[in-house]
């Protein structure tokens, strides 16, 4: 796609999210719908607009619960938006929320809306587990089944192993490789060491812990009271600020036990959470006397080869989006890049500096160059805070805006990779 943002100027006014929790912990009893409505209700509570002013809701999600197919609609109805607000769900793996935000932004840019909410929600605690294809076929047939004989006949041809449930794999359909296996391939191809990966992951945790300690997340996390205990959850619970390099190094590789370097500790973990961002046309924000956090300056959405470039989305999307915004990498004060794996981050950083990559894959003379590590994911990232697939984009955009505000940066870049080798990058500018 072309890296352009035409039409009316779109601004980010506010962003909120639930705390992110390791799957199977605090939010075990919640669905993606529950998490989503808490994020949106929390945003509406803080937002300087009344629910009736919102004209569109777009939510990203990855693991779809068949009970709430268009989860955005259920979220909208249950979170206090009037029933008259259309809502749709987008699913683009780990950039679902990013593209939900872009969808809403496009609607505003085109004049179809002035106020929209976009974000995402996912729970990995309750992945839709299915029975095997063989059993499903029979169950479907059984709905028209005739009598006991018919039912018995259906057992014919059913193998014992068909009775095992199918858990959705976090794998690419086209390559059959799981994310972790692909990360492992990447590590070997680019020669990224275990030591570098562990060091990067450790720093991510330390930064997230530090930011939380300083209260930087207070204006983006909506405390959540989850049944059945209703003990408030106010903070992300997967951050290991007290971890050590030694502890990290002691872990066995998760995807290639013998030769591998990718471990549970230097990969993002399964997470439950939701995020929501309030977008407005700049005109409307100004008319209401609202001071926006930032405007959307440029966007880029890319897609590459899912086998060898699966996790490299930012390396492809960032050069384009910077060019489109007409700014140099040095002008960017805040970088928020999704950390699927430490190795993926290191690979992206490496390729952004790589002349051959720039020449051969991007067709440009000069690579983007080195990204100042102090400006990159300074409040932690998906490795430490967690990664509810469909929700991470909302967290990235909100954190980017809040960091720009706190650090006095003019430009910020949000970028992420996704299954299917889709990449996305957004340039935000303070207004």
């Amino acid at each position: 796609m072309k890296s352009v943002m035409n039409g009316r100027r779109v601004v980010v006014v506010d962003g909120r999210r639930t705390p992110f929790a390791r799957s199977g912990t605090a939010f075990t009893d919640l669905t993606a719908y529950d998490l989503g409505r808490h994020a949106v209700a929390g945003l509406l509570h803080h937002a300087p607009v009344e629910p009736g002013e919102v004209e569109l809701l777009v939510m990203g999600t990855v693991l779809q619960d068949p009970a709430t197919n268009n989860v955005a609609r259920e979220v909208g109805l249950a979170s206090g938006l009037p029933p008259s607000v259309p809502a749709f769900t987008v699913t683009v793996a780990c950039v679902s929320a990013n593209l939900a935000i872009l969808n809403a932004a496009n609607a505003i840019a085109l004049g179809q809306a002035d106020v929209a909410i976009a974000g995402g929600t996912d729970t990995l605690s309750d992945a839709p587990i299915r029975v095997s294809r063989n059993v499903r076929k029979r169950l479907m047939a059984a709905q028209k089944g005739r009598g006991l004989k018919g039912l018995l006949g259906m057992a014919k041809g059913l193998k014992f192993r068909d009775l095992a449930p199918e858990v959705p794999a976090i794998a690419d359909f086209s390559t059959g490789l799981s994310m972790g296996q692909n990360a492992e391939r990447l590590a070997k191809r680019l020669g990224i060491s275990r030591a570098d990966q562990d060091a990067y992951a450790l720093r991510s945790h330390q930064r997230a812990a530090e930011a939380a300690r300083k209260g930087f997340f207070a204006d983006q996390i909506v405390p959540l009271y989850a049944p059945p205990a209703f003990k408030v959850v106010e903070a992300d619970n997967g951050v290991r600020g007290d971890s050590t390099y030694e502890k990290m190094a002691s872990l066995k590789p998760a995807f290639d036990r013998r030769f591998g370097t990718v471990t549970a500790a230097n990969s993002s973990y399964l997470t439950d959470g939701a995020s929501a961002v309030l977008l407005m046309s700049e005109e409307r924000a100004r008319a209401k006397g609202i001071k926006p956090l930032a405007s959307l300056r440029a966007v880029s959405t890319t897609a590459m080869d899912p086998l060898d470039e699966l996790l490299l989305g930012p390396a492809f999307a960032i050069p384009g989006v910077l060019e489109s915004a007409g700014i140099s990498p040095a002008e960017v004060g805040v970088w928020e890049i999704h950390e699927a794996f430490a190795v993926q981050m290191l690979a992206v950083l490496k390729l952004l500096e790589d002349e051959r990559f720039a020449r051969e894959r991007l067709g440009t003379e000069k690579p983007v160059g080195a990204i100042d590590p102090e400006k990159l994911n300074a409040w932690g990232g998906s490795l430490s805070i967690g990664h509810p697939f469909g929700a991470t984009g909302g967290r990235l955009v909100t954190t980017c805006c809040r960091r720009m505000e706190r650090e006095g940066a003019r430009y910020g870049v949000v970028a992420a990779c996704a299954a299917g080798a889709v990449g996305n990058a957004i340039v935000l500018e303070r207004v």
Binding site: A41, G42, H45, A78, S79, G80, P223, F230, V232
Partner: protein, 707 residues
């Protein structure tokens, strides 16, 4: 203009549409019954009419019940009896007609309304939460006098019918289908069409009532020996609940029993006779009076328009604050602020479990629960109050704290935000003493537990603006509360009349009364709990606090507080909450009975225990309460006796069948009451000196309520 429209269709179905031209609900007045009779005459005669459908043109009710104004006017039992007999004759004709009649119920069908439906051949209800069926006559001191005591048990079984009639328990559509009260459910829109098709189906036999299968347990209980057991059990539980003070549930049991023992005709006859007695009796008059009063109090006052409240803030997430939040979620998003995270957690849990109970009862859907719960925003930050349009504080009962909270709120909220204090005794004027905008400060005194207690005492201080009162009142009415408006002053109305009542109980204990005897005496008088138990429930610390606040104010009338409560509190007695009160309680979570704490007698000092006349004890307390209510009326704290009666009954448990302190005095007669007061004053002191207002009334022979 009539209340029933008849449309005769070419297919032979006559549609009878109930549409009361004089109000939003259909009611059965003598005129409507007369009109109904005419319609039935015509339908029976008309050979073109083969079947009948009964439907309502009102949005949310089928027939809401009988005409209470008519009931209130009945003095002669024969009038009531005749009304009932006329109803029986009419409904019997419907039930016995060869032309099938279908009742199409898309809203409330209560009392006589349900009895009309019961006489039909088929009941079709809308699958809608608006559909509520019940026989609530007992709550008005009456009985179902349109054949309900005979037809209901035969339709749904005795075990299900008894609680409906004896407690007024209501059922919603799905439950009604399950128990056989209705025959089928349909979607609310087009219920008339479906009812017409059903009537035609009943006519040609393509639709039959699918009778309910009676479980064997029910058959067993309905066998003659089972019935004996069931009736005995029901009788026992009625006596336990009402102490025999309410004639209506016992009359209902009598009717049901007669109907089973001697057949339906005898049951109907019994209904009519007993109904006549009940409707002319004082209990029914008092209960209907209260019902009418609460209905009036819920009507909007158009003097000053209320301002909209699109965001409510509650300060304090304790039991009170949580309750206030819970009853407000349907009206507006609610911010609850508390500095204690534990209290906020508890608030979330409490509100959610309350919503879940409503899901279980079918009042709301699970999705609706989610939607409502999402409107609750719990926070420790004061900042969150910024956009509130009504703030209700339910923080600890401490003047300085309340002033501080008010100042904090005023610094944040817009000028048109109303600030209400949920104080039970602190004068609003002193809370608002340093307020920037005292005109928007008032009292909203809720009663605990908020979701259950229907009363709200709205306290208006001298500087409170009418718009603020109107806004708070409109909000309270939407919360489902009955709001009485009272003037500011120490203890307002309810706390002010409760305080001497409780103090008198303590004095009686000091004189040598036994606590269980005293509690029993007041329960026999009709209070739901005795004063000693009440002190334990409220908390001895709270009682001591109120006594300290109010005692000195009214000391000149001899109402100085006993120092027993502060003494008990200092000795570590707090009441129920710490397990140490007048009674000793079993440890939390454990079962067991409370028993009198003999140590308390020692601490109270005074006379040794001795038997005392129970009736005298009860009257002494009730009269003291009533006297204080008289003073409130005389001083203008109350604007009318009606508000005083509603407040005392719904806030303090004054025996409902007595109708409240003013109706109680009316029943005694002012002359007689003055004599009683003077006798008590001679014995116990000037606190019993009757209020001048009563003395005047004794002279003029006036009553608080028109006879």
């Amino acid at each position: 203009m009539g209340a029933i429209r008849v449309t005769k269709r070419p297919d032979g179905v006559a549609v009878l549409t109930f549409d009361n031209p004089k109000g939003k609900v259909n009611i059965l007045s003598p005129e409507v019954v007369e009109e109904f009779r005419g319609v039935i005459d015509d339908i029976e005669r008309d050979p073109g009419v083969k079947a009948c459908v009964l439907v309502s043109a009102k949005a949310d009710n089928f027939i809401a019940g009988a005409d209470l104004k008519f009931f209130l006017s009945i003095r002669d039992p024969m009038v009531g009896e005749r009304f009932s007999r006329d109803g029986h004759a009419l409904l019997d004709r419907v039930a016995d007609s060869s032309k099938p009649t279908v009742a199409a119920i898309a809203g409330l069908a209560l009392g006589g309304g349900l009895e009309v439906a019961l006489a039909c051949h088929y009941r079709l209800a809308a699958d809608d939460p608006k559909v509520v069926l019940g026989l609530p006559e007992v709550q008005l001191g009456l009985l179902p006098a349109g054949g309900g005591t005979v037809r209901l048990p035969r339709l749904v079984g005795l075990p299900a019918a008894l609680p409906m009639m004896l407690t007024g328990q209501r059922v919603r559509a799905r439950k009604a289908l399950k128990m056989g009260l209705v025959d089928a459910l349909t979607s609310p829109g087009g219920i008339e069409e479906t009812a017409i098709r059903t009537a035609l189906g009943l006519l040609d036999g393509s639709i039959q009532r699918c009778g309910r299968k009676r479980p064997w347990m029910e058959r067993l209980l309905e066998s003659p020996p089972g019935r004996v057991l069931l009736f005995r059990q029901a009788h026992r539980s009625v006596i336990a609940k009402t102490r025999g003070l309410y004639p209506s549930p016992l009359s209902i049991l009598d009717c049901v029993r007669t109907g089973y023992a001697k057949g339906p005709a005898a049951g109907y006859d019994r209904e009519s006779v007993l109904f006549g007695q009940l409707v002319a009796g004082p209990e029914c008059k008092a209960l209907i009076g209260l019902f009418e009063a609460t209905t009036e109090l819920k009507k909007p006052l158009d003097a000053t328009p209320p301002r909209p409240v699109d965001r409510l803030a509650v300060l304090g997430a304790g039991f009170m604050g949580s309750g206030i939040a819970a009853v407000s979620l349907e009206l507006a998003p609610v911010v609850v602020r508390d500095l204690s995270q534990k209290a906020l957690d508890g608030c979330a849990r409490g509100v959610y479990s309350g919503l879940s109970k409503r899901v279980k009862s079918g009042a709301i859907s699970r999705f609706e629960r989610d939607r409502l719960f999402a409107r609750l925003h719990l926070t420790q930050q004061a900042e969150a109050l910024r956009r509130a349009e009504l703030v209700i504080e339910a923080v600890f009962e401490d003047l300085e704290l309340k002033r501080k909270v008010l100042a904090e709120v005023e610094a944040l909220v817009p000028a048109e935000c109303v600030f209400a204090s949920n104080t039970s005794a602190l004068p609003i004027a002193s809370i608002a003493e340093k307020a920037l905008h005292p005109e928007r400060v008032l009292g909203m005194h809720y009663f605990s537990p908020v979701p259950k207690m229907p009363l709200l005492e709205l306290v208006v201080a001298e500087k409170t603006a009418p718009w603020a009162v109107a806004t708070a009142r409109a909000f309270a009415v939407k919360q489902g509360k009955t709001a009485i408006v009272v003037e500011d002053g120490p203890g307002f109305y309810t706390t002010r009349i409760l305080s001497p009542f409780l103090n008198e109980a303590v004095l009686l204990l000091e004189e040598g009364a036994r606590m269980e005897a005293l509690d029993g005496a007041l329960k026999d008088f009709g209070y739901p709990v005795g004063p000693v138990t009440l002190l334990d429930e409220v908390g001895i610390d709270v009682g001591a606090h109120v006594a300290r606040e109010l005692g000195p104010v009214y000391a000149h009338r001899g109402l100085g507080a006993s120092d027993a409560l502060p003494r008990l509190f200092e000795a570590g007695y707090q009441g129920r909450k710490n397990g140490r009160g007048f009674y000793v309680y079993p440890p939390r979570g454990k079962k067991g009975k409370k028993r009198p704490n003999a140590e308390v007698y020692g601490l109270l000092g005074g006379a040794p225990r001795r038997p005392m006349d129970r009736k005298a004890m009860a009257e002494r307390l009730a009269l003291l309460m009533a006297n204080e209510a008289l003073h409130c009326l005389q001083e203008g704290v109350l604007s009318c006796p009606r508000d005083g009666d509603v407040g005392a009954v719904f806030g303090l448990g004054f025996p409902p069948f007595r109708g409240g302190p003013f109706r109680y005095l009316d029943a005694l007669g002012a002359r007689q009451a003055v004599d009683q007061y003077e006798a008590l004053a001679k014995l116990h002191g000037q606190r019993f000196t009757p209020a001048p207002l009563l003395v005047e009334m004794a002279k003029s022979g006036k009553k608080f309520y028109e006879a």
